[in-house]
Amino acid sequence: MNIPYTVEARPDTGLPNGKLGIWLFLASEVMLFGALFSTYILLRVGAVEWPHGELSVVLGTINTIILIGSSVTMVMAWASLKMHNWGRHRLYLALTFLLALVFLVNKYFEYSEHLAKGEGPWHSTFLAIYFTLTGLHGLHIVGGMIVMAYFLGPGAKMWKTEPDRFANRIEYTGLYWHFVDLVWIFLFPVLYLL
């Protein structure tokens, strides 16, 4: 039994199943982060005073650049597949993974600086929402890294048998990765700058 449209697009919708699926999933993710951003707004509007300058703008900026860079390498990983350049694809996918790792290491330094002072999420409402939002975003980074590791490792052999399907999978991973990047683009000004 074969499920239709797993690789090729359905003519009247113009989409393969997976692409519609990942877009729907991202729609639900928008609602998840949307709810948390709304929480942030509500708490901040209700606060007597809101702390400024608690976070290192330098580290935040570096992380923003890293994530934007990883989005670029992600696109390159997919484009290389489309140009049938397997070596370049491996390189760019590994680079994306590496940039994600650097992001997390950076985040670790930021977290430990606060925790060393005894200022965890219990310290203030600002740090509470900071740890919740960036923690959840960090989990999404880890999730993306697991998927990338799978395609660098055991998942890569699909390229030999079903190259189109494999390219689609990398494309969907990319869509997810851009979303995770986009969330950070919102998080950075909201938490570090405003």
Binding site: M1, P4, L20, G21, F25, M31, G34, T39, P121, F131
Partner: protein
Amino acid sequence: MDQPTTHSTTRPHDAAHHEELGFWRKYVFSLDHKVIGIQYAVTGLLFLLFGFTLMMIMRFQLAYPGRPIPFIGGWFGPDKAPGGIMLPEFYNQLGAMHGTIMVFLGVVPLAVGGFGNFVVPLQIGAPDMAFPKLNMMSYWVYFLGGVTMLASFFLPGGAAQSGWTSYPPLSVIAPTGQTGWLVGMIFLITSSLLGSVNFIVTIVQLRAKGLSYMRLPFFVWAQLVTAFLLLLAFPPLEAAGILQLMDRLAGTSFFLPSGLVVTNQVLTGMTGTAAGATRAGGGNPILWQHLFWFLAHPEVYVLILPAMGIVSEVIANNTRKPLWGYRAMVYSIVFLGFMSFIVWAHHMFMTGMGTAMSAFFQTTTMIISIPSVVILTALLLSLWGASIRFTTPMLFALAFLPMFGIGGLTGLPLGLAPADIHLHDTYYVIGHFHYVVAPGTIFALFAGIYYWFPKATGRKMNDVLGAIHFWGSFICINLVFMPMFIQGLGGMNRRMYDGGMQYAHNAGLLKWNIVIGFAAWGLGLFQLPFIVNFFSSIKWGALVDKNPWQATTIEWSAPSPPGHGNFVVEPIAYRGPYEYSVPGSAKDFTPQFEPERA
């Protein structure tokens, strides 16, 4: 051509391409949407029975407060019911878990996971769901969520006890059971999200050739809208659940206001604020209510829309007429889905959110009643002039109409802020939403079980037992919920573990607690014919062919039960879903999947 080739009575074992799988892959970790659908349905039914049992125990406490629970009172142990007498905390646990189990573990898995999984791919002529592995995963994540919820009864302090709504601050300071509830909910939400993505992709992508959107059976439309509600409304509750977990485990105070005093101690634990410098404001308990009801109002429509879909199928089939106003029904259900996202704060008129907010939400609430009335009216008009076949599924479907009507109409006073202030948190509310969900949705689900049972098993359920089940349930369920309107209008509050006897104004209303108690236990008894019928019909029910109800939609072109991959011949839709009694036709039904008019 009365007998197209697809009308042979081949059993699935004769069908081609049947790969043999081992027991575990075939029945437990199956990728087949039909097996997963049945897994969902059976698990959902068991949870419904369990949740109902909790209520039967609670009803004894309400009818006879302070008396030891008969027969099973000794099972609960001294921390829940010393000497068999229910403690208030235990009553609260039963109440919270009754609501949670019925909604999230019973009705939704049965209506969406069960019927959606089993029927939707068959009705759209697809070989399976778009993502079979994801489908299996949704079921097992749901199962884990269910196990977590059940296990929370055994945590120190028992299960969650802050109501199914888990309002803070009480829920944040409640015993460990609440953490179990939150973790369980995160599993259930994840399961629903995976499922809803799968449903939407399946319906959009895997429709058979010729099956345009306006040829979709109404049930498929209902499932499509439901899937969108689950997809977009559940994530905010997931967010809220994460925030409440942070409050409970990481010492944040998203939902605890500053300066909250519990048993003479200031509770807020913000080190930043305790040091004297106000770094940021305290939390906001109303925030939880907004996030919760942003899910939970669409959730109400998640409960009712699949039921409307089932009832539409059964009514069209048993009136032998096209549905009256199919297009209007489709537009209504889509509009209903959209509107359900902007009515949530009508649950919160009592929070003091202000008259402007109340005015907005009561207006949207009045607007959302219009499409519901359109659908109900269309179904009612479908009966007009029909020679109705009173089959067992039709009995339940017919009962759905007035029952949902009562539930819906009694909701209007609750949607208007001035009336709601009087009725809020009384038994009137309980009566209202149970009329929608119990004799409404659950009756529709029973209709669906009797209707599609032949497709799933190749055998029909017994009609005599079905009639006993129906009439007994119908009478008892009305005796349960009708008196609640009287109690509620008299001012009796909900969630009172002593049935309200501590208040003088309830004195004249307490006798109804005894009536409701006996009706509820009677309702429990009348489910026995169903249970017997369900299991005995699998083995001994009358054998049927592909299309025992002489129905028109595509699922009836597959063998009963369909093999792996569903259809022997790839189905093509030639016409709309409800071509019954077409003038000039030799028979009174013209199936979607038959090439030409006879």
